[in-house]
Symmetry: C2
Amino acid sequence: MAVQRETTRDRILEAAENAFGDKGYHETLVDDIAGRTSLSKGGFYFHFPSKEDLFFAVIDRLASRLTRRAEEAAGRCESPLAGADAALSEVLTTLGRRRRLAKVLLVQGYSMGSAFEQKRVEVFGQFAAVIQDGLDRAVEAGEISPIDTEVVSRAWLGAVNEVIVNWIYRGTPAPSDALPVLRKVLVGGLERPTADREASNG
Amino acid sequence: MAVQRETTRDRILEAAENAFGDKGYHETLVDDIAGRTSLSKGGFYFHFPSKEDLFFAVIDRLASRLTRRAEEAAGRCESPLAGADAALSEVLTTLGRRRRLAKVLLVQGYSMGSAFEQKRVEVFGQFAAVIQDGLDRAVEAGEISPIDTEVVSRAWLGAVNEVIVNWIYRGTPAPSDALPVLRKVLVGGLERPTADREASNG
DNA sequence: CGTGACCGACCGACTGGTCGGTCGGTTGAT
DNA sequence: ATCAACCGACCGACCAGTCGGTCGGTCACG
């Protein structure tokens, strides 16, 4: 059956997630992944054209999962600003629950050649775009004053990233503890518009 | 003379900075560095015990230079909060002027084995400590309300890091353009104490 | 039903290029 | 003569990727 093929592919992806999280890209051998999958190296290469392709597939899967969760959380809110706030919480919470996956997504594998750097740009660009979109809508709705949302979205992304990465490496402070502080500081850094401005719905 | 030895070492460090900035750790060969120094591979190994050691020496040098500049900028200010603000500007400006060096310091080489990860923890920890120290003093001076400065310092560090890294990869927005926005958002995220509170000198 | 051609999935020994590191030797200043 | 500084051919571990082969299923056909 064709479903078997998909199943094996998923098993490989799963094993690779863990392996990359444990040892990083370079220190993970294709033989390790084959071993964790109870597959031979040749069997692995039947499903993926290269180790690099596998890594990118792992990243893509993690990134799209995370983005979806964030957007769903935002969608459950009434205002754009509350949505951005909820998405922030969702991301911190999700990543905070799975340290190794966070490590793969945020740390491992970037900066080891141009293909990897390009992937970094792509993935972080997607995240930044989601944040920026939320901020733009908050501006449009008159919840916050107009501001350069490109820079601000990068700042939010960077702040979240660093808090998570620091926790990954040092185990503290826990994302759940950092969350309220982060919300206060990031959301608080946005200026509320003065009363003479009101929402201009397009 | 013993000074000759130091000179050659510096030449290697200089060449390595550029090489790592151009091609990253793994893609830079020891032969490349030897070549750029007009030294043989053997000559290089007379000065450094390993490629990894060289990389760490490069990082240490860059990190201490940057920290010194930031602290000097802060020291020229009258209040702690103004100092933090000035240090933020100094760092953005300095890194913004030398893209390749910023790349080595902020991106290249991390996440490729536990020794590298440890270095990341160390260097970023130093930066975070400097920021946290500034924030602590601003709290102490009553310029801002008490807050978890550990988390906030990480957030600042992460925000700056991401803005720079994004610029490194995409060339825009320029750090000089991002700076005012970043100042507004980060410094603005700190709550001013209400009037009933005053500095309690220790 | 039997059978044999065919194929997708998988195996694992092997290869071949790469590159960090070594080592015996040379040079030039004191 | 001595030794710090440097040379560069060479070594060998490492590992992604290959390739000839196995094996169980399945499908067309008599």
